[in-house]
């Protein structure tokens, strides 16, 4: 596996074979210890007591309801952030305006804030002691320790994903094609659907997949607003924590294996998208 092929024959611009071998070896060992081993362990523990025990993990009613809640949260958060991402990428990528770089910085804000702080901000706003708490209680609206809070926290942490994938591409492609379409009589929607969208579809797909993976896997922000009501407000990652802390390792890693498969699927889509984008830019440099 670690066999180094001579990369370039020119003397002086490559490394001696032993150095190459040492560097490749270090890289392979580092990535094996930090990436492959944790990944392999998830499936080894999940399947450690046989396939029957693995499948039995998914008959636990709390686990089933956690899977359902995770799907609900992602089904709301991902479309919301797709609409936002397209709007933001259009406004920022296609126009020059005052305050643009500030807006880009604000867009990145959810990436740099601790998920725990995200959860806390919603508790301070919507919790019983919070700014809107008395009003919400009077109108019998439950956000914190209920599903709306989990959805809101999920939306917050996944806000930038779609916009971040679309923005560089939309900006790089410029406005020439859109301007041509508009000059030929297309309206704004037609221009977007027929010209812009086909150009960014692969980046959009990857943004959606990445946003979805993060939405289904979010832990810290959701943990703070969920209140850990079993069977009601536990998402898949929270259910993993509950099972793991109960020393139910096979069920914990069984649920974890679903999310790990989702992560692997995300990486496969990423590789395919990168390959597609590279092919497109080869045809139209």
């Amino acid at each position: 596996m670690v066999k180094a092929l001579p990369a370039r024959a020119l003397p002086g611009v490559t490394e001696p074979a032993p150095v190459r071998g040492l560097l490749i070896g270090t890289c392979v060992v580092f990535l094996t210890v930090f990436l492959l081993a944790p990944l392999a362990l998830i499936f080894a523990v999940a399947l450690g007591q046989g396939v029957a025990a693995y499948l039995r993990s998914f008959t636990n009613p709390d686990t089933i309801s956690a899977i359902r809640l995770t799907l609900i949260a992602a089904a709301i958060a991902v479309p919301a952030n797709v609409v936002f991402g397209i709007a933001a990428a259009w406004a920022i990528g296609k126009f020059e305006f005052v305050g643009k770089s500030l807006l880009i910085s604000l867009l990145d804000l959810p990436f740099s804030i601790s998920p725990v702080v995200v959860g806390l901000t919603y508790v301070l706003l919507f919790g019983a002691q919070g700014a809107l708490g008395p009003w919400l209680t009077a109108h019998d609206v439950h956000i914190i320790f209920a599903i709306p809070g989990i959805v809101l926290a999920t939306i917050f942490v996944t806000v930038p994903f779609v916009a971040r994938e679309l923005l560089p591409l939309m900006a790089a492609q410029g406005n020439d094609e859109e301007e041509a379409a508009l000059t030929l009589g297309a309206n704004g929607w037609q221009t977007f659907l027929r010209v812009t969208l086909p150009n960014v579809k692969w980046a959009l797909l990857y943004g959606v997949i990445l946003c979805n993976a993060r939405a289904m896997g979010e832990f810290g922000a959701v943990a703070v607003v969920s209140g850990h009501i079993r069977g009601l407000t536990d998402t898949m990652p929270l259910q993993i924590e509950v099972l793991y802390n109960d020393y139910q390792f096979v069920p914990a890693f069984a649920v974890a294996s679903l999310l790990a498969l989702l992560a692997l699927a995300t990486l496969v889509v990423k590789s395919v998208v990168e390959w597609k984008v590279a092919k497109v830019s080869e045809v139209t440099p």
Binding site: L23, F97, S112, L120, F219, P237
Partner: protein
Amino acid sequence: MLASLSRLRRPSIIPGFGLTLGFTILYLSLIVLIPLSATFVEASKMGPHAFWHVVTTPRAMASYGLSFGASFLGALANFVLGTLVAWVLVRYEFAGKRILDSLVDLPFALPTAVAGIALTTLYAPSGWFGKPLATLGVHVAFTRLGVVVALTFIGLPFVVRTVQPVLEDLDKELEEAAASLGAGRWQTFARVIYPAIFPAALTGFALAFARGVGEYGSVIFIAGNMPMRTEITPLLIVTKLEEYDYRGATAIAVVMLVLSFVMLLGINALQRWSGHREAAVAADG
């Protein structure tokens, strides 16, 4: 409103500026900015003395020390090994390279709670790595070293993914020129290649560090969570919330938020510098 927005931008025939920018700002405000400002409003009710007292208790100071120290060490490990991985993936060919390259993004895609239980099980005293390490007297799980391991995992993609594109664009002729002028391979690396990739590596280091400081899910399982010793700052916020100490949680969250903003500004400055350096290198070459 729309007319006044239009006056702040460069004229264009592309439609939808008012609609998309208006929606972008409204959405960001409702989901991100207003909840965040609620945290500052809540903290401001405390008064400076009470605030200062809460954020400088020995337990809080110990948590900052661990969160920042472990993030620094994790980011440092990635600064060195991430640069090496980027180098190996760009310059050498070996079996399995494509798969390892795709796997580098695993920490982005794998939910943090899943990473947390996997790393803990690996490094627990009976685990695949924990057992042999224990015979050497090295304990990782439930110690500060465990926190560093988790944050190294979480930060792994950042340096690799910032350095990789710079190395790919680096002009081979520069190295050939250095070699033909009599530079050894190590000299060429130290004087020609390293200065070109350093800004990108430093940006990756800063991104990994910022991510590590706020990280929660992957750390809490492996850390042991002993106050004063292995308690990270985000966990301290959660603990205070669970004790209904909303003021204390908010005060510490404000400290983290301010540091997040500072790091975001620093990273933006680094990225601009890195961009200028790349542009300068490209112009020279």
